[in-house]
């Protein structure tokens, strides 16, 4: 099966899995800040969604793009669901949790991205990995455009600050 074609058989789905799992995992990992367990959970859900989809809409083409979008939606659904409750503790807790769960790299920018609050990280991924315009990022995150811009601004500031801090050591 080639990209964008119908997954008409189970073999097509499995072939799609083999061809795309690395890409989907990489994308999910960016969203989760390289939290392995969360990444695996997200990837698993994405492929189960794929199976549901091909069962329900066998005529509809699927490809890695569909998987990436589905992966993103699953992550964002969860993110939206947890946003309010996390708001107050997020700044303190998220970074700590992410820092503990995410492996450090040689690049302070990568480490900084990994420990960002999840909504800030998601905003960066949508903006720079998916290359979505800010209004689209806002819609995906369920925020106003204004709020999304401030979110991006703070995420970028955090990454810059982290990079400067590392460089200054």
């Amino acid at each position: 099966m080639v990209q964008g074609e119908r997954a008409t058989s189970d073999a097509d789905v499995m072939a799609l899995y083999e061809r795309t799992v690395d890409d989907v995992y990489r994308y999910a990992s960016r969203l989760t800040g390289h939290h392995r367990a969360a990444t695996e959970e997200l990837v698993q859900e994405t492929y189960l969604a794929l199976v549901r989809h091909v069962r329900r809409e066998p005529e509809e083409p699927v490809d890695v793009g569909w998987l990436i979008v589905t992966c993103r939606h699953r992550f964002l659904d969860d993110l939206r669901g947890s946003r309010r409750r996390q708001r107050r503790e997020r700044l303190a807790e998220d970074a700590t949790t992410a820092a503990a769960a995410s492996p450090r790299t040689d690049d302070p920018r990568l480490d900084a991205v990994a420990v960002l609050p999840s909504d800030q990280r998601a905003a960066l991924v949508l903006r720079y990995v998916d290359d979505l315009p800010v209004p689209e990022v806002a819609r995906a995150l369920g925020r106003s455009v204004h709020a999304t811009e401030s979110l991006l601004a703070r995420a970028r500031t955090a990454v810059r600050t982290a990079a400067r801090g590392e460089a200054g050591r």
């Binding site: 189960l48 309010r84 455009v145």
Partner: protein, 680 residues
């Protein structure tokens, strides 16, 4: 139509560096995960994996899903194992064993709840244990002992083998039924068994059957199913299970959990499994075609107080404890303890619980009394189509050191579309056919602040807020649209930068003046309207908007929604509750594009009751499809529409002259269009 060529992306060096950091991160699945997931996908294709059940809260659900695949779902597996075997207590000697009605977890069993724990009625004062091991007197022969054990949940307090910490993870528990069945949880897996208890306290658990989920490696599993003896302690308040060699192999002490005990944070922290809705509540169709989670996790990082909790769509979450929301559900959720429901301090509670193939609206009887007025399958919503579209001539963004500003576009009541062009430092009003009505320059910067938001006020005055990167304050400036003056500073609005996230910095118009929303958490400020000379033309006032309660009653919504007090004053934002007059309004959506899900509007009275205006509606569809647009109409009803799939990102949508228009940005972020929408 807009034929304007796509402007180049303005991603400065700083943005490129950050973008590289985000894009450059690389991770690979482990071979083990890859293999397991391959097996899972293959099993799903064979139909062995329950696709309507999605676990989103465990790091190990892959293995769990594989294990439970034959059981037809998480709850079903748990439920089926719970009825695996029963034992009758009768006569002397070991109790007679009744064959299990469902001897294997391989059979799908309808989801059932773990029944609520009844209040203690006769705490036993008889110790089961004795110094001899005289045979043949079963626990069933002693009604007092039976009463001491059954109809209670016994939650683990301590374990001598070090396998349990009361500060982490779910609380293991065990229950004895009067028909002889025993069931419990070791903190991860649920088991069922039949038991024999002799008068000496000697205990055996036979025909043990358990779920076999992979469990959190950081939480040691408790092995009390190896118990061989039981002791009744503290006049029936506690029991102790002793392992081999009279406890030398470990002992586990449980306390009796009476019904409706007040839950504490430690009681709530952990993983929760939604089993059923209480009787009498409406069952809704699942709004999420991808399947939704049945599990939720209450993290210790979320404050949980007084047993309160709430749930968002598809997953259970915990009240942050900062409000006065109280939870009041009995027997809906099951975990180590069912004693999570205690009281309501104020206000109604609505829970929407998803079990994968159904969404349950659950609440506390007598509190949420409003009927479900409308349940609108998304597929049944009428569609909107694009009748006309016009390009809007302004640049997409300007990059500063940190921020990419997008144009601010407002559809105004006078039938124009006002756009703040940050490149040209102008504000332009367009007619609905895309032609320019007027253009006026604005200050490009005020004391280091950049334009942030704009509204067209009365008397042909523009009200703009200016914000600085990263911190500090907003400034409100009034600029006449005819260019007769450079503008009048109306006020400076100090605020924390973080509050921008909650929509502060926005400028809204009200009868009394310009609403600065939010001045601080739960507050707004109103600055007076001014004329071209800067003279106030409206009243100055400060309006405390008491954002008293925030409820989770649905998925998050993309909105700047507000509540109108009838005088044109907008207060609050979505998912907040504000007090206006005698009513407290909670709202989730107001003229916004919504994702699929279940949403609710309701009017809560100060006494906690819910007025008749209570609407729950359901929006369904593919997450990759276009949006539905939902209006809460003045009569309290809900109107939903499909937006065209290829419309682009909706920046703003409004009625203009009785017609519906939207400003959208194309998906490549290059062009803005004014779109006239008509029923399609």
């Amino acid at each position: 139509m807009n034929d304007r060529p796509e402007p180049p992306r303005s991603e400065g060096p700083d943005e490129r560096s950050i973008g590289d950091a985000v894009r450059g991160s690389v991770a690979h699945p482990t071979d083990r995960f890859r293999d397991e997931l391959r097996d899972t996908v293959a099993a799903a294709l064979r139909g062995d994996v329950p696709l309507t059940t999605a676990s989103r809260s465990t790091a190990h659900s892959l293995e769990q899903r594989r294990r439970w695949a034959v059981g037809g779902g998480l709850a079903a597996a748990a439920a089926s194992v719970l009825v695996v075997a029963v034992v009758s207590f009768s006569g002397d000697g070991p109790a007679a064993v009744v064959p299990a009605t469902e001897p294997s977890i391989a059979t799908t069993t309808p989801v059932e709840s773990i029944r609520p724990v009844a209040p203690s009625t006769s705490a036993a004062s008889t110790s089961i244990a004795s110094t001899t091991d005289a045979p043949s007197t079963t626990v069933g022969s002693d009604p007092a002992v039976v009463a001491a054990l059954v109809d209670h949940r016994w939650v683990l307090e301590s374990a001598t083998d070090g396998s349990y910490s009361s500060t982490s993870g779910p609380v293991p528990w065990i229950e004895f039924a009067d028909d002889g069945a025993v069931r419990g949880s070791d903190g991860c897996n649920v088991f069922g068994a039949r038991t024999t208890i002799r008068s000496t306290g000697r205990l055996s658990l036979d025909d043990l059957a358990s779920t076999t989920a992979a469990c959190d490696e950081t939480v040691p599993q408790v092995s009390f199913t190896a118990a061989q003896r039981i002791e009744l302690l503290d006049d029936g308040e506690r029991i102790r299970l002793l392992g081999p060699a009279d406890g030398a192999g470990g002992s586990w002490q449980f306390r009796r959990l009476d019904a409706l005990a007040v839950a504490t944070e430690s009681d709530l922290v952990g993983r929760w499994d939604v089993l059923r809705t209480p009787p009498g509540y409406l069952e809704l169709e699942a709004p999420d075609p991808l399947g939704t989670a049945t599990l939720g996790t209450c993290s210790s990082s979320w404050r949980v107080v007084d047993g309160s909790f709430s749930t968002g769509f598809g997953s259970l979450s915990c009240v942050d404890g900062s409000g006065d929301v109280g939870g009041a559900l009995v027997g809906v959720l099951a975990r180590g303890a069912e004693a999570f429901v205690d009281r309501i301090e104020s206000g109604p509670t609505t829970l929407l619980l998803s079990s994968g193939d159904a969404v349950y609206r659950a609440g506390f009887a007598g509190r949420v009394t409003g009927p479900v007025m409308e349940v609108s399958p998304r597929a049944s919503l009428p569609s909107l189509a694009v009748a006309d579209e016009f390009g809007l001539a302004f640049e997409e963004r300007e990059s500063t050191a940190l921020v990419s500003w997008t144009p601010r576009v407002e559809l105004t009541d006078d039938g124009s579309v006002v756009a703040l062009d940050l490149v040209a430092s102008t504000v332009t009003a367009y007619e609905v056919d895309g032609s320019v009505r007027w253009t006026t320059p604005i200050p490009a910067e005020i004391d280091g602040r950049r334009p942030w938001d704009v509204e067209l006020g009365p008397d042909r005055m523009l009200y703009l807020s200016y914000a600085a990167d990263g911190a500090g304050s907003f400034a409100l400036v009034a600029v006449p649209i005819d260019g007769t003056s450079a503008g009048q500073a109306v006020g400076v609005w100090p605020t924390a930068w973080q509050c921008v996230e909650t929509f502060c910095g926005s400028v809204r118009l009200a009868a009394a003046g310009v609403v600065l929303d939010e001045y601080g958490i739960g507050e707004v400020s109103v600055q007076p309207y001014v004329d071209s000379e800067g003279r106030p033309t409206g009243a100055t006032s400060a309006v405390p908007a008491t954002a008293t309660v925030t409820y989770d009653v649905g998925p998050r919504l993309p909105t700047d929604a507000g509540v109108d007090d009838g005088a044109g004053l907008l207060l609050g934002s979505f998912r907040t509750t504000v007090s206006l007059g005698a009513s407290t309004w909670t709202f989730d959506a107001y003229r916004v594009a919504v994702a699929e899900g279940t949403y609710a509007f309701f009017d809560a009275q100060p006494d906690g009751s819910v007025a008749s205006t209570f609407t729950v509606f359901d929006v369904r569809g593919s997450t990759s499809a276009g949006d539905a647009w939902v209006d809460l109409l003045p009569d309290g009803s809900v109107q939903g529409w499909w937006l065209p799939d290829d419309l682009g990102a909706v920046v703003s949508i409004a009625w203009i002259g009785g017609e519906r228009y939207a400003v959208v940005v194309t998906f490549d972020g290059a062009a803005y269009r004014l779109v006239h929408l008509v029923p399609g």
